[in-house]
Each structure stands twice: as C-alpha cells, then as structure tokens.
C-alpha cells in the first residue's frame, strides 16, 4: 500500500528551512549547468547561423580559416565560371572577399578589439540572404564607405551611422547598418575589398575567400568536382554552414570543459546537501516512520515515499534554477573567436531542451541524495523506534 503524497507535501512544509537549503543547493547547480550550456550553444548558434546550406565557401587549400587563406583575382575568375553557381541580375552570384582584422576600441572598456573587416562584392546581399540593411544604405563601390553589423555598431566605438573612422591608412564614413539575424556577420564591418586591401597595404586583388550562391543545396558536389579537377585551382570548397560550425569548435569545447567541471563539482556538493537534508528528515521522523510501519505500510512504500519527497525537493530546486537563469536568455556578450582571433558578439541561448536537461539533472541529484536515507528509513527497527521518546 502506498503512503499518500499529501504526507510528503505536508512534511516538506513542516520542515521548510532545511528543505529550502536543499532547494538552493540544487537550484544553484542547475542554474550554472544551464547557463554554461546556453553559453556554448549561443556561441555555436551565432557561428552556425552565419552560414547557409545553399552557399559554398572557398578558401585556399589547407587553410584553417579565412584569416589564413589567400589567393588572387585569377583564381576568382576561374571559380565564378564553374557549374553549380547561381546567377543573378548582374552575373554569377559570387562574392570574392578580403578579410582582415582592425583594432577598434570597445565601448564597454575602451580596450581595442580585433574587429573583423570584410571586403565584399556589391551583390553580397543577394548571396547572404539573411543580411538586410536596417539603417542608411549599402556602401558604393569605389568609395571609402562602410556598412556595419548591428552588434558592431553598439559594441565598438565610432561605428554609429554617419560617423567617420580611420581604419588602416584611410578615413571611412559609416553609411549603413545591417542586421544579419544574430550571426557572426553582425559583429563585422563591410566595405569595398579593393579599398580595404589598399588601406592595409595588402597586394591589390588578393582575397581570403570566395562565397558563392549555389543553384540548389545539392549543387555543392557538382561545384566541388569541377573545382577539384581544375589544375589551375588549389582550393578547398565547403558548405558555408560547415565552415562556420568548425569555427566554433574550440571555444565551445573550452566552455564545455570548464563549465562541465564546475557543474560536476557542484553536483557532488548538491547531492551531499540533499543527503544531509534527507538523513535529518529520516532521523527526526523515526517515530512517525515506525508508526506507519506498525500500521501496516511495507518497507518498499516507505522507501518510495521518502524518494518521492527527495524528488519533490529536487524538482522544485530544478525549476527554481531554470527560472533564475532565464533572464540571461538573449543577453549579448563579446568573446574572442579562438580560431581567427577576431572579436565576436553572441547571445546566451536557453532553449526548452536545455531547461528539460536542467530539470532531469536536478531529479538525478535528488534521487542520488534521497535513496540512501529512504532505504535507512525502511530499515529502522519498528519496536526500538517506537520506544524512543
């Protein structure tokens, strides 16, 4: 026969101080667990959303990132005539890009951040469809004008619409702000590639990458085949999404390792807290338990009842932890992308599955902390316990 759950609810209420301590312990652990995962996830999501499945990114063979890649205009001209590339109103949808970093002070602390500067072709908005100009206009080819991402304009000083800023050996006017849907491009500054290479004393007509819009996502292999058999080209072709997913691996791993270790230690602490709470609950209620046993409730019912109580406490702890970290959802923070050493804004991303994982984590802690005391409760000798005062 099962002991009514009301009994557990009432006893948690009766001993609310020690229950609250256990709840706090579990809530803290779950909060950190969810926060760390959402940080890693946000970072990854920012980079992954930068790529789209129907775009391909081409870098020099063996390059680990755009930063370490480079080729000339001759390669670009060969690439743009390959099959599988979509065509727009003004010719093939190809953007050969010059990518480099420029130090621009952060608004938050005045230190220089390595801001990614990207020279793009005028038809880039047809290729990166998630990017929209939200203020001002697109830069004009041949003019020293910039368009800046919506995070860049807030995070780095001097990048407001209408400002003039010196980058490299030139002065540039900010003529537009674009929204790239929360992707890594939102932290970037875009301009005419020829002017960028000139301002940073790079050889003229040198590019770090070419991004092309494919006729369809399946056209990638066609393009890859055509490029790999061309002896004039020494480049790697990959789907844009895959490139950006790879860019996030190192940072994600760092956050996961650090966060995982911290959450693991804390989980041990929280289980100890739960064990302590439940053991003292059992000790305090020796007579109650013995009475129930005397009334005919079996050992398993007692175990179950105490386990339910522990799970109840940990469930509340898990919920409290999840609710406590919810406000950080969408909070934007800056970090360095360790693959390219460029600075990047990204937002914490708390998804429902993370919350579910957090609550499951809490229940596991509750079960670990509740089972041994529950077993002890069932093993109490009835006669001695009843004889106690």
């Amino acid at each position: 026969m099962a002991i009514p759950i009301v009994y557990n609810l009432r006893s948690v209420k009766a001993r609310w101080t020690s229950a609250i301590v256990a709840v706090i312990g579990i809530a803290g652990t779950v909060g950190v667990f969810v926060a760390m995962l959402s940080l890693a996830r946000g970072f990854k999501a920012t980079l992954v959303s930068s790529g789209s499945a129907d775009n391909a990114l081409i870098v020099r063979s063996g390059a680990t990132s755009e930063m370490t890649s480079g080729f000339g205009l001759d390669s670009v001209k060969i690439i743009q005539d390959k099959p599988g590339i979509a065509r727009g109103t003004g010719g093939p949808l190809v953007t050969p890009e010059a990518v480099l970093m420029a130090p621009i002070p952060m608004v938050s602390n005045g230190a220089d951040a390595n801001v990614q500067l990207r020279g793009v072709s005028p038809n880039v908005l047809e290729i990166r469809k998630q990017v929209n100009i939200v203020q001002g206009r697109m830069f004009k080819a041949g003019l020293s004008e910039l368009v800046v991402g919506k995070n860049a304009t807030n995070m780095y000083s001097g990048l407001k619409l209408g400002n003039t800023i010196s980058l490299g050996s030139m002065r540039w006017e900010v003529v537009g702000v674009f929204d790239a849907g929360g992707s890594a491009f939102d932290s970037e500054v875009w301009a005419d590639p020829n002017l960028i290479t000139a301002a940073f004393t790079r050889p003229a007509n040198s590019f770090q990458s070419v991004t092309v819009h494919l006729t369809s996502p399946q056209a990638l292999s066609q393009l890859q085949d055509a490029i790999s058999v061309d002896p004039r080209l020494n480049v790697d072709v990959m789907r844009e999404v895959e490139y950006y997913a790879k860019q996030s691996t190192r940072m994600t791993l760092l956050i996961r390792t650090l966060g995982g270790f911290v959450a693991f230690i804390m989980a041990i602490g929280a289980v100890f807290g739960a064990l302590n709470t439940m053991y003292s609950a059992v000790a305090e209620r020796g007579r109650e338990i013995a009475t129930m046993r005397a009334l005919g409730f079996g050992g398993p019912s007692v175990v179950l009842s105490f386990l339910i109580e522990a799970l109840l406490i940990s469930f509340i702890g898990g919920l409290v932890g999840c609710v406590a970290v919810l406000p950080i959802n969408g909070l934007t923070t800056g970090a360095m992308n360790w693959q390219t050493f460029s600075h990047l804004a990204f937002a914490f991303e708390i998804t429902p599955d993370l919350l579910v994982m957090g609550v499951i984590f809490a229940l596991v802690m509750g079960a670990l902390g509740g089972l041994p005391p529950a077993v002890r409760a069932a093993q109490l000798p009835v006669a001695t316990a009843l004889r106690e005062l």
């Binding site: 301590v21 706090i24 370490t68 970093m101 130090p103 390792t257």
Partner: protein, 386 residues
C-alpha cells in the same frame, strides 16, 4: 587539550552527517581553488609581463607588418636597452586542434629581452647555428612527446600553406614552470628567405612586432611616445605600449567569459558554504539539552563556546584539507584537457594557504552563531525543553 576527547566524541555521534559535512566543505574548497586557478590562467599574460618591456605594433593592426629596419631606429632611442622582433607563424602541427603559439624570432636579441626563458647554452648554440632550428617550451614538448633532435613538420597556414620542417634543437623552461612554456620558436632568417613567392613583395624583411627592453621601467611612457612620434606620418605608423597593457588588451577581449565563470562560480561557492554552515548549526541546535546539562554540572560559558567552535573548526579544517588535496590531484588533469585553449592551470602555495584560512574562517563563523546562543542560553529553560 583536555576537551579533545569530548569534541571528537561529539563529532562522531552521527557519522553520516560528519562525512557529508566534511564532504561539502571539501567540494566548496575544490570549487574555490578551481575558479581561482582558472581566473589566474586568464590573466596570466598580464601577471608575467615584464614592467620594463614595451611592445611596438603597427597602428593599423596586429596583422600588418613593419620593416625590420625599424629595429635599428628604435635601438638608437635613449633609454632602450635591447630590441628584438617577432612574427606570428601560426602553423598547424598535424591537426588544427593541436594549437600552440609559434613565433619567428630574432636569435640575436631574443634572449636578452626575455631572460626568463631558460635554455641550456649548448642547445641555444645549436639552434643559432641551425637554419631550420627550433626551440619548444617544455609544456608543448611534453604534450607531443618531442625530444631534442626530432623533425617537426608544420603547415604554414598563414604563410602560403606550404609545409615547413624544423629540427628541435632545444627545450626552454621557466622558473617553477610559472611562465608560458607552450611557445615554439623558429629563426627569422630562415623564415624570411623561404617565404613563398606571392608573399615576397609584401612580407620580405618585415617584423610582425617589436619588443624592447628598457633601462628602467620609469622610461616607459617617454620611450613609447618618442617611438610613436618618430614613426607618425610614415607609411608604417606604430602603436607602442607596455607589455602588460598589450596583454591586458588581449585578455579584455575574452574577459567576459572569465567574468561569467568567476561570477557564477562565486555565487555557487557561497551557496555551498551557506548550506554547510546551516548543517553545522542544526547539529548544535539538536544538542541544546546536552549542552545545558554540561552547564548545569559546572562547565563555564566560555568552555561551551570553545567546544562548539572547536568542533566546527575541526570539520572545516578536515574538509579544507580534503578539498585542497582533491584540487591538487584534479587540476593537472583539467589543465591537460584544456591544453591549447588556456595557459596551464597552476595551483600556487599562497592559494592553498588562502583556501585553508578561508575554510577555517567559514567554519568558525558558522559555529559562532549556534555557539553564542548555546553560551547564552539559560540552563533552566533549556532543561525544561527536554
């Protein structure tokens, strides 16, 4: 210590609780130590930076080089003792995830500017005489099981993508392993002569940045200004700052992550302590009647306080020692797992001492409240409760 027996008898009255409370303390201390070493790893660059060193970079950005001939001009400025220059090589060893910093160095002056890197003289000599020579830090050598004499192939991702090979001629160390032992050095001359053709026009005879050692740290501001003024309006304008300012600038770019880890961790650390302190308070409260009996048979108020505090101090000390021992065991493993992402996590003696002081302090504070109330309680009332 005539009360030792009494304190210990009380401690062991509930073994499960004793173990759990000591365990909670240990966990809290482990967390404290871990967060402290992670924090120090993030700011290591700033801590070990020499106060008498300046870094000169191209104003336009770290990725843009300067003519190597600037070295002589900088050397001529009064107050400058030695000048050396570096390039970032950024090669890939076997796989991208095997990251370690590689610098193209100028062997002539590097050692004078960085005396903290210790290399046996014969190894250094071999390196200088070997065009394809290289020197690795002890940590990197250990990570990849390199021995002196090994051939190290690197893919020069940043410099045309070609494969370069180097002979490992030496391994450098730093005092107590506290410095950066992950670097890999190769010779500027060899690098400069073997640049791929496409890069020759822009990169030949260049330096990525200069590091200079000053006669005295007091000259830093003046020398930095002189250099930047001298090169202003040239085609390569410079930005000169102290090594620590340079490192701090780098650290600030990922400072947010550090801030988050430390804030979240500290909140939880204090929560754990709260939980632990509460448990100790409960265990004293449960024994109110016993303490009253002790008082009734003539124990003084101060002795009662001493008994309670002694008990919590013993628990805190045991938990603290256990936690710090666990930290000492676990941190090298975590440090290995983070190789290539963070500088080594080092557990310093002052930190261990601080942890222990901290543990005992919290132990005493959490024992103080129940101890004081036990001391103040009136025997008659307490006994009546029984």
């Amino acid at each position: 210590m005539k009360f030792r027996k009494l304190i210990f008898a009380n401690l062991f009255r509930k073994k499960a609780r004793l173990v759990l409370t000591i365990g909670s303390f240990a966990v809290a201390l482990l967390l404290f130590t871990f967060l402290a070493v992670v924090k120090s790893a993030f700011s290591r660059g700033v801590e070990i930076a020499g106060a008498d060193r300046l870094v000169v970079v191209n104003r336009v950005g770290l990725m843009v080089t300067m003519p190597v001939s600037y070295a002589d001009k900088i050397r001529a400025i009064p107050g400058v003792k030695y000048v050396t220059h570096d390039h970032w090589f950024g090669g890939v060893y076997q796989d991208e995830k095997n990251f370690f910093p590689q610098f193209v160095i100028d062997p002539e002056n590097h050692r004078k500017v960085y005396p903290e890197f210790q290399i046996p003289d014969d190894q250094w000599k071999n390196f200088v005489n070997d065009q394809q020579g290289a020197i690795a830090g002890a940590r990197t050598a250990e990570r990849f099981h390199w021995k002196i004499g090994d051939r190290i192939p690197l893919k020069a991702a940043l410099w045309g993508g070609g494969s370069w090979e180097f002979n490992l001629d030496g391994i450098y160390k730093t005092e107590n392993g506290a410095g950066d032992e992950s670097q890999f050095w190769l010779q500027w001359k060899y690098f400069d002569e073997n640049l791929p053709a496409v890069l020759k026009t822009t990169m030949k005879s260049t330096a990525g940045w200069y590091i200079l050692k000053l006669n005295s740290p007091n000259d830093a501001v003046r020398v930095a200004k002189t250099i930047d003024d001298d090169f202003a309006n040239s085609s390569y304008e410079t930005k000169t700052e102290t090594e620590s300012a340079f490192a701090a600038g780098f650290a600030k770019q990922f400072g947010n992550i550090e801030f988050l880890i430390v804030t979240i961790g500290s909140v939880v650390f204090f929560t754990l302590l709260l939980v632990t302190g509460n448990t100790m308070a409960i265990s004293v409260r449960e024994r109110t009647s016993e303490l009253a009996v002790l008082k009734a048979i003539g124990f003084t108020d101060r002795t009662i306080l001493f008994l309670v505090l002694g008990e919590s101090a013993v628990i805190a000390l045991a938990g603290g020692v256990l936690g710090l021992t666990l930290a000492a065991l676990a941190i090298p493993g975590v440090s290995m797992a983070l190789t290539g992402m963070l500088p080594p996590l080092l557990l310093s003696k002052p930190l261990l001492g601080l942890g222990l002081v901290f543990a005992v302090f919290v132990g005493l504070v959490s024992g103080l409240l129940p101890g004081l109330s036990a001391m103040r309680m009136r025997v008659v009332n307490a006994l009546r409760r029984v």
